[in-house]
């Protein structure tokens, strides 16, 4: 008996010691250190007392630099949607395509010069934020609306807006509804966990219209509920409506109402606090915008290397070291354009004229053509 007791006591002591040494720094720990003395501040972890803690701290520091982690891992992890034609959709061969997918490819091209080094995580609206917070993905290139709440309370930073959208309604032609005012008393299907849920509530409430919401977790369930008559209307971002209409049995029997009831800037999100990674993501996208403005396409970018234009030469990394400032190689922008294309190319092939969706450029045209797409100067 006495023997077992001794073993138990020793075990508990070891356990308590482990808990003490492995415990994370409690909040306010650093503040207390700062208050003590400036000489101690530089020594973040006293090595002599807790060797285990030093290991943990180094690991965190390495994980904090997403760019280093991605390079070391050898591939990029992007969060995309579970299937939204034009934005991110896997075809019958398992190849992903869409604006969001190409935005992710641009980042991979800038980092690796290779767009195959990507692993896609298809995420539902509900899963996407936790996936980014937990580090399951490096960057969220999934049609996600930039809002103040998401920017502040989720621990994210939104980098660039890759599509300017607005929320609309899809209704059956035979219902006779031609504008949003006709939706009074309607039952509306939508996907849960999105800003659309809040916009619908605001829109109907300010107009004193009654409505019912049927909210589903998955996109395809929402669509089938609408198609089979559970709801009078389907609501989501207008681009999504164009895409989903194609999946209906008879697309011509459905119309998209003219009203857009909200602003939906769909933006690329990264975890807050890693400024270098944020820069890489943002400038990979701006590179596509600038390329369109310079008239560079995936087809002519090789010829452009002999151009005398100083801004194009800077862009291509011929007379500049912008790449190293981002932590990338100097031909990063060249790789983006060569492997993915400029913004006009990806827009037209995924959602525009060359696609089945046929969405006009509208707000997503270059700023010189009346749109909102404005590539920041690379210099």
């Amino acid at each position: 008996m006495r023997n077992r007791f001794t073993v138990l006591i020793i075990g508990i002591l070891i356990g308590a010691a482990l808990i003490y040494f492995l415990r994370p720094n409690p909040p306010g720990w650093e503040a207390a250190q700062t208050g003590a003395s400036s000489s101690i501040v530089s020594v973040t972890t006293p090595t002599a007392t807790a060797p285990a803690a030093t290991g943990a701290a180094t690991a965190t520091a390495a994980a904090d630099s997403t760019l280093a982690a991605v390079k070391a891992r050898g591939y990029l992890k992007c969060g995309v949607s579970q299937g939204l034609p034009g934005f991110s959709n896997a075809d019958d061969k398992g190849q992903w395509a869409g604006i969001d997918v190409d935005t992710c490819r641009a980042i991979a091209a800038a980092i690796f010069g290779d767009i195959s080094k990507i692993r896609y995580s298809p995420l539902s609206a509900k899963e996407r934020f936790t996936a980014l917070q937990s580090g399951e993905i490096d960057v969220l290139t999934r049609n996600t609306t930039l809002t103040l709440t998401r920017d502040t309370s989720l621990g994210f930073d939104f980098t660039a807006v890759n599509y300017f959208d607005g929320q609309g309604f899809l209704v059956k032609k035979e219902s006779g509804i031609t504008d949003a005012a006709g939706l009074n008393g309607a039952t509306i299907c939508l996907q849960t966990g999105t800003t659309t849920e809040l916009n619908v509530a605001d829109y109907f409430r300010t107009r004193n219209m009654t409505y019912q919401i049927v909210a589903f977790d998955r996109n395809d369930e929402t669509l089938s509920a609408y198609e089979q008559g559970r709801c009078d209307a389907l609501t989501t971002d207008a681009s999504g409506l164009y895409a989903e209409r194609l999946e209906l049995k008879d697309p011509s029997a459905h119309i998209i109402l003219p009203e857009l009831i909200s602003k939906e800037p769909l933006a690329v999100a990264v975890r807050q606090g890693d400024d270098q990674w944020e820069d890489v993501v943002r400038w990979s996208f701006y590179a596509m915008l600038d390329a369109e403005e310079f008239g560079l396409t995936s087809a002519n970018v090789d010829d452009a290397k002999s151009t005398p234009s100083p801004e194009v030469r800077r862009f291509l990394g011929l007379d500049s070291n912008f790449g190293s400032m981002l932590g990338l190689s100097n031909d990063w922008a060249y790789n983006v354009v060569k492997l993915v294309g400029n913004y006009g190319e990806i827009f037209e092939r995924n959602v525009g004229k060359e696609s089945q969706l046929g969405i006009p450029r509208g707000l997503n045209a270059q700023w010189k053509r009346g749109g909102l797409m404005y590539g920041m100067p690379i210099r």
């Binding site: 309370s153 621990g155 966990g193 999105t194 049927v214 008559g229």
Partner: protein
Amino acid sequence: MVMKEQKAPRPVMFGWSNPKFRGVIYQLLVVLCLGAVIWVMAATAVENLHRLGIASGFGFLNQPSGFSIIMSLIPYSEQSTYGDVFIVGLLNTLLVAVIGIVLALIIGFTVGIARLSGNWLVARLAAIYVETLRNIPLLLQLFFWYIGVLRAMPKPAASLEPLPGFFINNRGIVLPSPYEASGFWWFSGAIVLALLIGAGLRIVAHRRQKETGQVFLWIRISVLLLIVLPLIAFVLKGAPLHFELVVLSGLNFKGGVHLIPEFVALTLGLATYTASFIAEIVRSGIESVARGQREAAQALGLTKSQTLRHVIVPQSMRVIIPPLTSQILNLMKNSSLAVAIGYPDLVSVFAGTVLNQTGQAVEVIAITMAVYLVLSLIASSFMGWFNTRYAIVER
């Protein structure tokens, strides 16, 4: 005599040789270790959330939600708070669970007894019911009810009307809602009176049977009273119960009680699925009572129903209740599959929508888990109490 005076050494109260004391110490240590582990985990979570700049804490429960919910048992609007959303979701979960459990018990006991029926057809039908439903995954059954049955109904404008005022369409089931006129209290008073008389009769009947051995058929008389008394009150007071008429206006029905198809599908799916397990539990319980018991009861001259009531059921209940408890718990937990068919239960609106709008996954999931834990503990402790009532009392 000498032996008697020689006392055994007095046990040391707080010594290590006292097994009771040792036990307490061990338990304390386990609790302390567990507490330390939980504390470390919580501190880590808070620290990491803080470091990543993610909001934490329960303040969000007081913020307005800004979205609407299709079905709510309490007044709810877009201005209500996330805390209200939690209550709406909880009540919707409880509603499905309670109705589902009642239905499952009724169907389960009926089918279970039917499987033992002497009638070949009835027994086979019950067997088919059990074997089919318990071998198909519940999620598929929910989709069957929701998409296969309820979606296939006609549009609101072409609703089925099996009874006047009752409408079935692909938006759900619309029933006329009753509302009371003056004199309704007489009607409900009559029901209460009939119930009271029934309870009184039961006491009298039991006492008389104990004293004289004569059987008094109190159940039949009480049922008769329960029908006749309210009927008299109803007729005398000129039918004080009215029904609100349901009218189709614009896109939907106005007035009446609206049962949304998500609710109907979930309740039916859960009840029929769980009932198939309950049926088997009931059958095994009844079969566990030895044949000799039945024969002995017959030899004593008990009628068939007396045999069932006083001999078979009390003994089979001891076998039935423990596994029944786990089926009831299963039904409650399975109700979270609601999210698949869009029914606004706790998981769907709280652990789904609220989680996404606020992004506070840790808090929301912790609350949701705590709710399911508490509900399950309440249900199982109730069933535990019920079980002790039926347990064998040794005399």
